[in-house]
Amino acid sequence: MYQYDLIDKEFLVDRSNEFRGQVARRLAGELTEDQFKPLRLMNGLYLQLHAYMLRIAVPYGSLNPTQMRRLAEIARDYDKGYGHFTTRQNIQFNWIKLRDAPDILDKLAEVDLHAIQTSGNCIRNTTSDPYAGATAEEIDDPRVWSEVIRQWSTLHPEFSFLPRKFKIAITASAKDRTAAKVHDIGLLLRQGRDGSHGFEVIVGGGQGRTPYVGPTIKEFLPTDRLLSYLEAILRVYNRHGRRDNIYKARIKILVAALGAEEFARQVEEEWEKIDAARADLPAGELGRIRAAFATTPFETLPVRSEAFETAKANDSAFARFVRNNVRAHKQPGYAIVEVSLKAQEQTPGDASAEQMEVVADLAERYGFNDVRVTHAQNLVLPHVKLDDLPTVFAALQASGLATPNIDLISDIIACPGLDYCALANARAIPIAQDIARQFADPDRAEEVGELKIKISGCINACGHHHVAHIGVLGVDKKGEEFYQLSLGGSGAEDASIGKILGPALPADRVASAVDQLVGAYLNVRADGERFLDTYRRVGLEPFKEAVYAQAD
């Protein structure tokens, strides 16, 4: 994987020193909170309900064991012993003291981590496929391009004060694990007929109050023209995006107002004026970055592992884990392992310091020092030998990290909700826990199959409820927490925005309503249909009836 060189390291030291100075000025009273706010936000430091929250960037969701152990140390020394992995592959600490923040950033910089551009109206962390470099599905390693964008977008002098935040996702597989179509820019790597690679460029997807699946504005952008084309998109947005209303400032509003065709025309017109030789990345640098990702020293192994097959035959818990949490690897004899952060009673995406250390140890001993964070708020060990899988499973299981529920009904995405967030109308975490409890029987969960539930505590949609198979949105009804259900959304390659099922329900009705929805699905599903497929075939009515009929 990419290793920071002296330039990357010195950059982080400079950043850390800058922020230390700013915090000192704030603590000395030289800066008011108003003046300090944009500075702390540029370093990922938010003021939440109870304390400061520090969001740390995990570029394209990739961590090494040293970094993971440092995150564990920060969780232990500066937080309450845990951290929260986010849908954008970052990690947040929710109980940070302002005076500690500079020390934390120093400790992060020592292991090549930082909080640059994890908030503010700038280009945020570029997210990518957590299976990058491991899945046979991909036509190229998307981390190469993610790293190119990381560097290009870091403290970009022209694009650090955009109308609103800006998020880019890249995937190179047909199966999209990044929610690319609901990002400000989604880049889908495609192979042309002549074998060359290009990006399908999607612009103006998003969630929040006005959810959109983004339109494609360019079918095939040659990969070596990526940076100049991004510059053109960002420039059109910087100049013409709305700045009068925070809720209308995302690029999706501009794209929708102009129409995708006109927006694409403006981008193309700007792109033609850009000096490509200056704007696009030189081939030599691209080669350097590419080489850094091509170094995983896989062994030549047989496709079949006796140790693995024996364990699968003898241990039903292991077999269940394999069915649900283990994915095919491009290299014979290896597998991709999903580490679930969705155990019963756990807050989705939370990991304790001890759990982080267990994952770091396993990555070091069995996984080429590679850990990934997923959009679904789980972790991945992308390269584990089949021979080692039983051992890895046992270690994960002993630490509560082997819940066999990836993509199943209890693999829920939830925002922090009213338990932490100043914007929330309602709690999200207890609802996720209720639903997980309702489907605690793993046989039943497997019988139900892939079902993506996502919960947001308010209309800002950080829990991605718009693109859930079953979405749950917290609303405030005369001071009481109510929840509006929606069906049929997807953030994947078949992206769509969910439709509202009916009137909002009280908190204690959500899990039983989900149970009723699942019952209705099981009644009418055809062979091999996921919940989403059945919904798309039969529509809203049978589900509506299942939830609301008895109340009438």
């Binding site: 003046q35 500075l39 560097q151 002098p157 022209e158 694009f159 030189p282 030599g284 350097r288």
Partner: protein, 168 residues
């Protein structure tokens, strides 16, 4: 009147501001260098410039596009780009286009909500004069603008980009 900081010799220093900022309500003074709004410049700029006895600058608001100045740029001494709020980043694009696309060689001045925390971005985009709104001194400005030993992308300045440092 805010004091003016100019870039010079790799740093920043106080500068005498020879220009008078003329608002649309003011009469244009008989003599001396002036900065006008775009509307005023379009109406009266030609006459002022042909009198040849003074320099003329134009103030561009963040919702105005610098392309409209393209023809006149060689005769304009100062383009003052306004930041109504520090969060309004449109002037960064205007500055880059002036330098990189239109090869403008006159002064590009940052006016309005201009804070030392923006110094690095501004200098990289081609600004070379600043009317700070936060009491920043040239020393503070220089320090803020040169905090980072490395940069990752090309802009309007001459800084060596990370990939060039790496020999690529």
């Amino acid at each position: 009147m805010p004091k003016l900081i100019e870039l010079a010799d790799g740093g920043a220093r106080w500068a005498e501001d020879a220009f008078v900022n003329v608002t649309d309500e003011d009469a244009i003074p008989e003599t001396g260098d002036v900065i006008l709004s775009l509307a005023r410049f379009e109406a009266e700029g030609d006459a002022l410039l042909s009198s040849n006895s003074r320099r003329v600058g134009v103030r561009i608001e963040s919702n105005e596009e610098i392309e409209v100045l393209a023809y006149d740029l060689p005769r304009i001494a100062v383009v003052a780009l306004a930041f109504p709020k520090y969060r309004d980043g449109r002037a960064y694009t205007s500055a880059r286009l002036l330098r990189e696309r239109f090869k403008y060689e006159g002064q590009i001045r940052a006016v309005g909500d201009v804070l030392q925390e923006q110094a690095g971005f501004m200098v990289r985009c081609g600004f070379d004069a600043f009317e700070p709104n936060d009491g920043a001194t040239p020393e503070a400005w220089t320090k803020a603008a040169s905090r980072f030993r490395h940069v990752y992308q090309r802009a309007a300045d001459e800084r060596v980009v990370a990939f060039e440092e790496r020999g690529n």
